[in-house]
């Protein structure tokens, strides 16, 4: 099997499996007051401290969640509610047009069902939000912006945003700025304090940790209204029994990902460049989407003209090569990617695209297998589309 879909999820690292396996052998709820509870609490707090240290945060800035989607919902909804309660004039939610659905959908839901006004920040043809675009959007009325959310790096096309500049602008106006850094941790240098953001989403399973553990890093000056109410865990911001074994594994994954980041990123970038070169050699008229320079090292998002991405995916899958159309599915049907559309692509171009994403288990053999399989697959997929649209 040639797995080229690490941006969807990546293999759990053996060190993480070992830590979680050991922790699953222990009994105890981290909120209990007895010995077993104290032991679990210690494991949770050590995980929190490890994650904080690796990402330039303080332990009390780490709010554990069940993953990226929950952290994004907490940031967008919770920060909107807090800001709107403090001043009902604050209604605007500014989000980039290329956000993951975990940000876009809560923001749109808030506009449809709550007092929010949804506003998208346009991107350029490589998917980048320009700082002056954010400034102009705020300047239209600095007093009515409730919250801003721009992702650190795009999950589909891999474009890395100028987060420090964007966060600095938001800070000038004292507006909380959230970033979804799910794809950035382990690939880009992520330092929470230095970035200037107020809230940062991350998750375990993109970096070799378990699915089901994530975090929202929150500066002490923002206080979102909870989405989950209950036992009051996590600074009363996120109730729910702490999942001690997952958090231990999560922390191990974060530590390793950050420690090894530079070496890992440069290895992936070499493989990725080779992937693009081999695919281009086989199919000369491809285009690489996203920022050619400022992009995630493991991401290659490619449009294959006159092809349908889902047909290509199926043909590659039949050859044991696994990749993604990169866009959201509705009942299993790939929709034209909102990210590519926001970058100015036509729906046909958007549908002709595949995302190949690399991770720590990727090898040169994987790239070679794709290089060999891609030309015949494209030829067939093109013949199928010609049948469909003569």
């Amino acid at each position: 099997m040639v797995y080229l879909d690490h941006a969807a999820t990546t293999a759990v690292r053996p060190e993480v499996v070992a830590d979680m396996t050991e922790e699953f052998g222990h009994l105890g709820n981290a909120s209990s007051l007895h010995g077993a509870g104290r032991r679990a609490r210690r494991a949770v707090e050590e995980a929190r401290e490890g994650i904080a240290e690796a990402l330039g945060a303080t332990p009390n800035e780490v709010v554990f969640t069940a993953g990226g989607t929950e952290a994004d919902n907490l940031a967008v909804k919770g920060l909107f509610w807090a800001r709107h309660q403090a001043d009902p004039n604050r209604r605007r939610i500014l989000v980039s047009a290329v956000e993951h659905h975990a940000v876009l959908d809560p923001a749109r839901w808030m506009a449809e069902h709550q007092a929010a006004v949804y506003e998208e920040l346009p991107v350029d043809e490589v998917g980048r939000v320009h700082p002056e675009v954010l400034r102009a959007a705020i300047e239209r009325d600095p007093s009515d912006v409730a919250v801003i959310s721009v992702m650190w790096a795009n999950n589909e096309v891999g474009t890395v945003q100028p987060i420090h500049e964007l966060a600095a602008i938001a800070r000038e106006y004292t507006i909380p700025f959230h970033t979804d850094a799910v794809q950035a941790v382990g690939a880009e240098p992520v330092d929470f304090a230095a970035s200037g953001v107020s809230a940062l989403t991350m998750t375990g399973h993109k970096i070799g940790g378990p699915v089901g553990a994530g975090a929202l890093l929150l500066t002490r000056d923002v206080d979102p209204v909870p989405v989950l109410h209950g036992g009051g865990q996590e600074r009363e911001v996120r109730s729910g029994t702490l999942m001690t074994p997952l958090l231990r594994g999560f922390a191990t994954a974060v530590r390793l990902a950050v420690e090894e980041r530079e070496e890992h990123a440069s290895r992936l970038a070499v493989l990725r460049d080779d992937l693009v070169a081999q695919v281009r050699a086989a199919v000369p008229d491809i285009t690489l989407n996203g920022d050619p320079a400022g992009r995630l090292p493991g991401n290659a998002h490619i449009s294959f003209p006159e092809c349908e991405g889902d047909a290509l995916l199926m043909l590659l899958d039949a050859r044991g090569i696994e990749c993604s159309t990169g866009s959201a599915c509705s009942a299993g049907v790939a929709q034209a990617s909102h990210v590519l559309i926001a970058m100015g692509a036509t729906p046909d171009t958007a549908r002709s695209s595949l995302r190949f994403s690399l991770g720590y288990t990727s090898t040169a053999e994987d790239i070679k297998a794709l290089g060999e399989a891609i030309a015949p697959a494209v030829e067939r997929a093109r013949a199928a589309l010609r049948k469909r649209r003569p």
Binding site: D310, A331, G332, A383, K387
Partner: protein, 361 residues
Amino acid sequence: MSLRVLAAMSGGVDSAVAAARAAEAGHDVTGVHLALSKNPKSYRTGARGCCTVEDSRDARRAADAIGIPFYVWDMAEEFDREVVQDFVAEYAAGRTPNPCLRCNEKIKFEAVLDRAVALGFDAVCTGHHVRMVDGRLRRSVDIDKDQSYVLGVLTREQLAHAMFPLGDCTKAEVRAEADRRGLSVADKPDSHDICFIADGDTAGFLNQRLGDEPGPIKDESGEVLGTHNGAHTFTVGQRKGLNLGGAVERRYVLSIEPVNNTVTVGPREALQVDEIIGSRPVWSGCDPITEPMACEVQLRAHGEVYPCQAWQHDDELVVRLDEPATGVATGQAAVLYDGDMVLGSATIARTARREEAAPAH
């Protein structure tokens, strides 16, 4: 010989067992669910439909259980153009279309088959209750579930790439087999009605698209007997829904004239026809017949079979029934049979009583 087979999986029990049988026969099978609606409803209403999100999930679970790859193909654009719009246009023209037949002809064994062949597949497999013997279509052994009529429109070339693994058993046997194979769709109710009219209200669906302008209901002499809310909601042979009040004798719809929005009614005897002219003749079971040949014809789904003489004259099919039939609607298919074998078909364009009609040749 092992073939690369694309199994169209609706989420129902028939297509699941068909895919399982094809895989068990040693073919390299890939399951595909066809998404036919741009905005699929999340939950099916009753037993209807084959294109809800839930049906897609059922199909996926069946593919998992069989152990074959599974994908969803978006055919919504083609389905809307070839089936839904055609359905509306046919009613607007005063005919009575059969959308299931149209879907088999234009979607499953054209759009899907063409795409499949281009992508390297040899055949499309479905859960229809029909048999294929030497490339010819025959009725299922389960005569109540036989679907040869809605496939009678397929050409020999289309049939050459078709696989129907269920024709040799009954529906009850298919359900029992699904249960034995651990397919959770074993007890799923049969789908019926028209899948793209979720609430089953065909008249409402047509009114929404064609308007509900009132028009006259007349008898054969031209006398106005009542009014209706749109000629397109009627079918030749229909008796219910005329609301003619105190009419002494029962009246039936004889014809529909969309141009002047008129529905003509009359007694049952006036419905009798014994000559049928069909357009677009297709001969899948034999070479084109140009001299009168004794065979049988079926004029609607689950309808009666009539002994007849049939032949092709120019580009039309002529069918002369031995005894008159009633309620023959234009737009339906006339499917010719020799015993249980499909010979060919055509779309009913006109009907006549022989003594009144000019001879066809």
